[in-house]
Symmetry: D2
Subunit: 193 residues, 4 copies
C-alpha cells in the first residue's frame, strides 16, 4: 500500500514539473549566474526548501545568504532575491521582495500564482503549480462532498516537493554549465557538524 502512495505522489510531482516553462528555468539560471550575490527568502516549509537550495549554491562556490540567518548582510543593487511562496501572499517573503525592489535589487519569485502580490512585484516569475495551502480548504470541501480520500499532499506539500526537485535540477544545470566537480562541492561542505 505504501509504495502505491509513493507512486501517486511521484506521478503528481511529474505532472506539476512537466508544466514548468523551460524558458523560465533559463531565465532563472541566468539571473542566478548574473547576480553579484543571491539572497533566499521563504517562510515555513518553503523556507526550508530555499535553505536546501542555498546550501547547494554555497557548495558551488556562489555567494548566497538566507534572509533571517545571523550573518546575512544588507541587500543592494546588483543582488538577486529569490522569494519562494506557493500562494505568493505570505508576508515575510512578500515584504522582503517589496523592500528589495525599492533598494534596487532584482527579485525572482517562485510561486504557484502568477497573479499574486509576490509575482506582481517581482522582476521574474518561475511558476510551479501545485495546490497551495490557500486553496486547500476549498479542495477539501469538494472532495468531502464527492466522498473522496484525504489529499495525498495536504496544504503546500505538492508545491514544496516539486520546488525541491526543480531546484536540484537547477543545481545540476549550473554544475553542467560551469563544469564543477563533486570533489569541489565536497570540499566546501560543512565539516563541523
Amino acid at each position: 500500500m505504501f509504495i502505491r502512495v509513493v507512486s501517486e505522489i511521484l506521478e503528481d510531482l511529474r505532472q506539476v514539473l512537466q508544466q514548468v516553462d523551460e524558458k523560465e528555468i533559463d531565465n532563472f539560471v541566468k539571473a542566478l549566474l548574473d547576480a553579484r550575490r543571491i539572497f533566499i527568502v521563504g517562510a515555513g516549509r518553503s523556507g526550508l526548501v530555499g535553505r536546501a537550495f542555498a546550501m547547494r549554491l554555497m557548495h558551488l562556490g556562489i555567494e548566497v545568504y538566507v534572509v533571517g540567518e545571523t550573518i546575512t548582510p544588507a541587500i543592494r543593487e546588483g543582488d538577486l532575491l529569490v522569494a519562494i511562496s506557493g500562494s505568493g501572499r505570505t508576508s515575510f517573503p512578500l515584504v522582503a521582495a517589496e523592500t528589495s525592489k525599492r533598494l534596487g535589487a532584482k527579485v525572482f519569485a517562485i510561486t504557484s500564482d502568477k497573479n499574486s502580490p509576490l509575482a506582481r512585484c517581482s522582476d521574474y516569475v518561475l511558476l510551479v503549480k501545485g495546490r497551495t495551502k490557500d486553496n486547500a480548504v476549498r479542495d477539501y470541501i469538494s472532495r468531502q462532498l464527492a466522498g473522496e480520500h484525504p489529499p495525498l499532499t495536504p496544504l503546500g506539500t505538492l508545491f514544496e516537493l516539486s520546488t525541491s526537485i526543480l531546484l536540484d535540477a537547477v543545481i545540476y544545470k549550473i554544475i553542467s554549465m560551469l563544469g564543477i566537480s563533486e570533489k569541489e562541492m565536497l570540499e566546501r561542505h560543512s565539516n563541523l557538524e
Copy 2:
C-alpha cells in the same frame, strides 16, 4: 532538456523509494504514534528534511521538537528520537542518538547504511538507499574514468529528496489512520509569518 533532467531525477527517486521496506514504514508509524513526544535531529540538508517533517507532525497535533531549536526540552524515557543521516556517521545526529539511548529514549534512524554507527546504536532503522556524500567522491572518480556525465544528484541529494517524499507519504498514512482533516491542519499552521 530540463524536463528530461527532471524525469531522470524522478525515476531515480522511484527506484530508491520502491526499495523501502513496507514493514519498516509500519514500525516507524507505530513508533511515532506510540511516543510520548518526538524529537527530530539531522545536520545540513537532512536536518532541513527533518524540520519539514516536524512541521507537518505539529500540524497533525503531535508533540514534536527539533534538536537545536530554542524551546526543545530534555528528552526522557518514553520519548522517540528520529535521527536522519544518509551516511549514518554525521556527529551531530550520532551524538544525539547515543545520548538518547543512554537516557532511556527510543531511537529511530533514517539512513542509507544499515551498518553505520547510527544504525547500530538505534532501536529501529528505516533504510533509504541513495548515494550519500560519503561515497560521492568514489562514484565521481568511477564516472570520470568511464567518461560519464556529472551526477544528477550530487552528494546526499538522492537520499534527501527520497526521504522528503517518504516522510510526506508517512504523514499521509497518519492522516488516513487518525482521520485528520486538512482544515484542522490549517488551523494549526503558523499564522505570524
Copy 3:
C-alpha cells in the same frame, strides 16, 4: 583599558535599566503568567535576546514558541505575543504584532520608542531606553562634529544588552513567585547538544 570599557558599558546599562517603570514590569509578569501560551518575536539581535528569554521560560515549564522556528503553531485568542524591537519599526515583529491583534491575541511590546508603530498597535508596552540603530547615524554625526569617540555600544547594542538583563531579572521574579527550583529547570534543559 579593557576593564574601563566594560565599566562604562555597565554604567550605561545601569542608567537605562533604572529608568524602566516598575509598574510595566509587573504588568509584563502578570501578562506572561496569565497567557495560555506565549509567542516571542524579534529580528536580528533583538530576536536572539527573545530566544534566550524563550529558552528560560521553557525551563520554567511555561508553554512558549519563537515565531519563525519549525514547530511554532498558530497564535489564537488567549495567547500573548511578546514583540521586541528597539525602534518599534522593524517589519517582521511589527507584522506579527498587527496579525496577532487581528486574531484576538494580546501583544506586549518591548521597545525604546513609545510612539512607534509597534508600541501603538500593542496592548502593553515595556519601555527600555537605549540608542536604537535608527537614531545611531544622527548620534554619530553629532559626536563627529564634537570630536568625540566612537560609541561604546553601536547600533542597537545598548537596547539589546539592557533587554537581556531585564528579561533575566523577569525570569528571577517568576522563579521567586512560583517557587521553581533550579533542579527543575535543569531537568527541562536540552540534553541532546
Copy 4:
C-alpha cells in the same frame, strides 16, 4: 524591588568581568583580526550569545560564519573557531573544536573552566567566570541548606550575560582599532526583516 534585582545582577556581572585577563582579550582580538575566516559555535544560550557576536563582526566587514547555519562552509587551515561553552563540556562545541584542530584551524575557547575538555583542546582560552549550569545543582543544595534565596542568575545565566557584554566590548575595541564608522556598520545591517 525590581531595580534592586537588576542592581545585584549588574554587580555580579561587574565582578565576573573584572576578573577577565586583559592579556587574554588582547590575544582574542589579535586572533580575530589574524584569521582568514571566523567560525562561531555554541549550544543553547551560549550559541545565541555567539550569534549576536557574529552579527556584529559581519557589520564590521569581517568574514564570519555560525556553525549549524545554512551557508556555513568547510573550516580549513588559516580559519579560527570561537567555541563558547560555560562548562567546556557541551558536546556540540566540543566536537566542533576537536574537528577544527584536526583540520588545522585554530580554536579559541570562551569558557568558565580552564581544565575542561574544551579548554584543553583549544589553542587559546578566554576565561569568563560565572556559575555554569553544571555546578548549579550543587550550589542550589548549599543555598537550600543555608536557607538562602534562589539564585539571581540560574544555570548559565551569569556566564551568558557576562560573555555578551565582554564580546560587545571586544567589538568596541575592534571598531576603535580599525576606525570603522557606525554608518558603515549600518550599511551592512540586514535590511530585509
